[in-house]
Amino acid sequence: MGKRIGLEVSLSAAEAVKMADVDCIAAYPITPQTHIVEHLSELVNNGELDAEFIPVESEHSAMSVCAGIAAVGARAFTCTSSQGLALMNEIVHIVSSMRLPMVMILANRSLSAPISIWNDHTDVMSVRDCGWVQVFANNGQEVFDHVLFGYRVAESEKVMLPVMIHVDGFILTHVIEPVEFWETEQVERYLPEFKPVHALHPDRPVTMGCIAGPPIFSEVKVAQDEALIQSKSEIISAWKELGDIVGRNYKPIEGYKHEDAETLFITQGCFGETVSLAVDALRDEGKSVGLLMDRLWRPFPFEEFRQAVENAKSLIVIDRAISYGGQGGPLALDLRSALYKEKNEPIITNFICGLASRDVTIDDFKNIYNRSMEKIKVNPREEDFEYYGVRGK
């Protein structure tokens, strides 16, 4: 077992990147991602991490540099937030399409305007369809573990896709909490050397990112989508091996008191832990309630969700992002698709809350539960979703 220390989650994330022995970090500072990059630049400067640190002039360049690094077969890392992700968007789509493995931490923060440096998932959802493997981390330990997991999955010959780790900005990135480091020997066992299927090399010339017209474009895109869908089996086996090595077990969906529950909360990110305490409180009041925390966002775990909600009568989906003009938050939309016409399809109520880090307490989640129970009694289809705690709503 590695050493257990109290450290800011951003710093332990950077330490995990160091343990992954990356070759190059290219990043541009943006709140609340900054501490991760700052610490990495210190590690490189102090000679503790033998890597190139490229202080690029924008996020667009950060991702472009990472594309080049991965294309020559080296290990790249970057991280960003919100507007930085928006600026980088063009290349985010390109690296997954070109099947360039890398890991990016997204310190989740709202997209402007109005300007908000605080936490929600509106930036996450802006890249929902960018073709990356995407996972949510619920605490500092999960962030640490998933950096190593990220490279393991991304660089697998069967996957060859970039991996994005969602970490709630401030609420998680800036918290001091205990993290158990890995032993070097454990990392070596878990994460083999990166051996790309193709790499740019003068001795073996290839063309990457070329044009593809109507006769071939669809085939290339289907191959990409299939790779993301098929990556799930590799993701699950990478989690299993992680469990064998460090003893922490991860699944696409984490359940809490869910098996016998009539009503299930569904969450993403570190809200899940707070909701688990609301579940405890509601259980004390005799309510039949449980929780499913969605860890794997893309590829979306349709099968796992169908199984996990089999016995539930209703779901309370918590979204921290808006699909403007759509019917509810992005998580609820996917769940409705996943469960449509299922036998015993549960009634889905959807609440959007916690935008720009607005505090959502255990009592708030209890209120949400009660509100959901009222709604399903009256007419569950009357409103497809509700903003919680918004004045005037």
């Binding site: 220390i5 109290g6 609420i171 918290v175 001091i176 909490e177």
Partner: protein
């Protein structure tokens, strides 16, 4: 679970105090959690930081609205911020002030347990400037042994390097000089 809310001014080290406490708890094998009130850094503005300590994993991540202990790093805050808001019935307010506990209790009409120390005076004498984060940790531990003083020394040394000894002296003096009015 023990919940501590820290009030200070930007740049005074309220966040550092919360961090050191959490690190000390983690060193003792417990679970510790510390975080700032998130926002743009504003030197001088009233700020809040939070710390939780528990024997088991801490899952809650919302702000602390009903603290067991409130720690006030700057006496001038007492009159602008309702620092005792939400303080539990048997909660303790630990504050930096040059006044006696009775005077503060009367002026602010406080019913809770009080612990007071002239941290500005101690910090000026020991550190040469009124940065009270480590001094107020001494007062906190006197009011309630949330961690053992020894567990705090190591994180303090790691954080402060060559000025660590001065900070440790200020910390120990405050531990001795804090007046308890429970």
């Amino acid at each position: 679970m023990l919940e501590i809310r820290l009030h200070g001014r930007g740049g005074q080290g309220a966040v550092t105090s919360a961090e050191l406490l959490a690190q000390a708890a983690i060193k003792e094998g417990k679970y510790g959690q510390a975080f700032p009130s998130f926002g743009p850094e504003r030197r001088g503005a009233p700020v809040v930081a939070f710390c939780r300590i528990d024997e088991k994993q801490i899952k809650i991540r919302s702000n602390i609205n009903e603290p067991d202990i409130v720690l006030v790093l700057d006496p001038s805050i007492l009159r602008i911020v309702d620092v005792a808001a939400g303080l539990k019935g048997d909660g303790i307010l630990v504050t930096n002030t040059k006044h006696k506990a009775d005077e503060i209790r009367k002026e602010l009409n406080l019913k809770c347990k009080l612990a007071v120390v002239n941290a500005n005076g101690i910090a000026r004498e020991e550190l040469g400037l009124p940065i009270t984060n480590t001094t107020m940790l001494g007062a906190l531990l006197k009011a309630k042994a949330v961690v053992s003083p020894d567990s705090l020394i190591e994180p303090l040394r790691e954080r402060f390097g060559r000025i660590a000894e001065k900070n440790i002296r200020a910390f120990k003096r405050a531990f001795k000089e804090t007046e308890l009015a429970f």
